[in-house]
């Protein structure tokens, strides 16, 4: 049974992804920040990491880079909502999530999912990374 690590600072999102994936038959671990995720990976390397790219402290792109370096075998799905975020979210020079998604793809994320995604989209992405 494939192991999937979900990283999202939004508890609701982490939980619903766990529900979807467990129902599809995957073993799921959910963490809410990058350092906890790295700890979980160190304890038991998963087959797939699904990570939000925009998180406090260490963001998703950084996490993907570290994973690429230390665990090149782990496949990554980057997820994010569109729009702007951060302290300048409502200013013209706010950070745009699509820039982060592009960076995540560059850092090595094999799949990109834009929130809100459908259940089928999520499962399809996971299945593309875990063909068996």
């Amino acid at each position: 049974m494939a192991n999937i690590l979900v990283v999202d600072d939004e508890v609701d999102i982490g939980e619903v992804i766990r529900r979807v994936l467990e129902r599809a038959g995957y073993a799921v671990t959910v963490t809410h920040n990058a350092s906890a995720a790295l700890g979980a990976v160190a304890r038991q390397p998963p087959d797939v990491v699904i990570t939000d790219v925009i998180m406090p402290k260490v963001h998703g792109v950084e996490l993907i880079r570290i994973l690429r370096e230390r665990f090149p075998g782990i496949r990554v799905i980057a997820i994010s909502g569109g729009g702007s975020f951060g302290p300048l979210a409502y200013k013209p020079d706010a950070i745009k999530t699509h820039a982060y998604l592009a960076a995540a793809r560059e850092a090595g994320a094999q799949e990109i999912l834009t929130k809100p995604f459908d259940l089928t989209d999520l499962l399809a992405a996971v299945r593309r990374l875990l063909p068996n």
Binding site: I13, R23, A94
Partner: protein, 500 residues
């Protein structure tokens, strides 16, 4: 009155009148004196000759029966017509003409001046020698015919003077008119110029040098004035135009700022919103799989999911408009490809009573960007176009063209490819046109339009470095012109189309 007296014409006539009235009496007096003297001299001279002849005749009369013969001579003299009194006298007697004496009334005095004494008779006395004694011949000549001649001559002089005065007056009036006319015409022309008709030329044909010069200088002055006023009005016009341009620029800037602000706000909201939407959508879909497919709960959940999808696409559109969706890597593609794909789609949607007319040049119009967003632009513009025509039908025109000179002020100078979408629908008035690119602005019924279609188009076109303009007249349809920067590079991949 003073106005009349001050007029040039009246003054000229007045001067002429004064000259004439000063000149005419002495002239008349002089001429009539000459006439009078001429007649009198001739009268007197002829009488002298006549009376001399009579005296000579008396001297040679026969002595025998002298008195009878003398009286007969005097009678013949009187009968000749000019003489009214004839008398021969010596110391002892007086012989009179037998017929002349009664003609003379009153006392007879010697009168050697024509016209004197008021008796109308002019007397001449001759001494006639007969042998040893001397006779005195006295003849009285009638002055009346000569006086009448003189009077007639004087009347003719007077008449001539009158004619002269009248002619002089006529000449005076004519002269004053001749002199004053060009001045008056100049004055009228100058009045027209002063009244605003600056093109009225000051051209007076006059042979008077001063008038010609006055005319020349006035015309010169007028041209200067016209030049100055034209320069001034041109400057004012230019200033108005530049002010208009400035206001227009300001309006466009404000408009752009407003759109940017809304886009920024939307971007900020979108991130949070998408995070919130994710569990809603996923939990609903999870729950849907837990319940029987034909249950009421399944139906409700399907509705929740559909609503969540609508919400998602709304956010996507907002982000498209604010250029915050992740677009594909820009590449070079022919403009025609996404337009034709969009039109193929539209032909199934657009009602049959609307004719779609697509025109494009032979050569490929290459642009750089994401072909799928151009597809979106065509869909949005054409959807608006056919909805504007409604049930009446009409013509939906889609045109592609290369333009070297985009409309001034809309985009930077350069080569552009034009995508034009026109309809023959209801058109829009200015108040609507001012807001069409703003997000959430719609003229359709609530629920029919999101008010994002044109805002999205605006966002896409701007992100491609292009511009969009619109022309519309209520009742005559609308034309949207999208200018996309032309590029010369060849298409990078064949997969420039949609859905790649």
């Amino acid at each position: 009155m003073g106005r009349l007296v001050n007029s040039l014409r009246v003054r000229l006539i007045g001067v002429m009148l004064v000259i004439i009235t000063a000149l005419v009496p002495p002239l008349y007096l002089g001429v009539s004196a000459i006439v009078r003297e001429g007649y009198a001299d001739r009268f007197v001279n002829s009488l002298r000759v006549y009376s001399r002849l009579v005296a000579d005749e008396l001297e040679t009369l026969d002595e025998g029966d002298f008195d009878r013969r003398a009286v007969a001579l005097l009678d013949s003299v009187v009968l000749s017509g000019q003489v009214v009194f004839a008398e021969i006298s010596d110391d002892s007697r007086k012989l009179h003409s037998s017929i002349a004496t009664p003609l003379i009334q009153g006392p007879l005095r010697d009168d050697f001046h024509f016209g004197d004494q008021g008796d109308q008779v002019y007397f001449i006395t001759h001494t006639v020698k007969r042998g040893d004694h001397v006779l005195v011949l006295r003849l009285g000549f009638d002055e009346v015919p000569t006086a009448e001649q003189i009077a007639a001559a004087e009347r003719r002089v007077l008449l001539a003077m009158g004619v002269f005065v009248l002619a002089s007056m006529a000449v005076a009036v004519w002269l004053s008119w001749m002199i004053a006319r060009p001045m008056v015409r100049l004055q009228h022309a100058a009045q027209r110029v002063a009244g605003g008709d600056t093109q009225a030329q000051l051209h007076i044909s006059s042979s008077i040098r001063e008038v010609q010069e006055l005319n020349f200088h006035l015309e010169h002055m007028r041209r200067e004035l016209v030049g100055t006023s034209e320069r001034l009005s041109r400057e004012i016009r230019e200033r108005e135009v530049s002010e208009e341009k400035r206001l227009d620029l300001e309006r466009r800037l404000q408009h752009r700022e407003r759109i940017a602000t809304i886009g920024t706000l939307a971007g900020g909201v979108a991130h949070e919103f998408n995070n919130i939407m994710t569990p809603i959508l996923l939990y609903s879909q999870l729950a849907l799989e837990e319940v029987p497919a034909d249950s009421a709960v399944a139906r409700d959940l399907t509705r929740v999911i559909a609503a969540a999808h609508r919400a998602r696409s709304l956010v996507t559109r907002i982000l498209t408009f604010s250029r915050e969706v992740e677009t594909q890597q820009p590449n070079v593609f022919p403009l025609r490809a996404p337009v034709e794909e969009a039109l193929a789609l539209l032909r199934d949607i657009v009602p049959a009573n609307i004719e779609i007319v697509f025109t494009a040049p032979q050569q490929p119009l290459l642009v750089r960007g994401d072909a799928s967003v151009v597809h979106q632009v065509v869909i949005n513009l054409c959807t608006n176009a056919y909805k504007a025509m409604g049930r009446n039908g009409g013509k939906l025109g889609v045109k592609l063209a290369a333009v070297d000179d985009p409309p001034d002020g809309q985009v930077a100078p350069g080569c552009y490819h034009l995508l034009e979408v026109s309809d023959t629908g209801h058109g829009m008035d200015k108040s609507v046109l001012a807001h069409i690119f703003e997000p959430f602005f719609t003229t359709r019924e609530v629920g029919e339009g999101t008010g994002l279609g044109l805002a999205v188009v605006h966002g896409i076109v701007s992100s491609m470095g292009g511009a969009i303009t619109v022309r519309s007249r209520p009742g005559h349809g609308t034309t949207f012109s999208v200018y996309l920067p032309a590029t010369r590079a060849q298409p990078q991949t064949a997969a420039a189309g949609i859905g790649a």
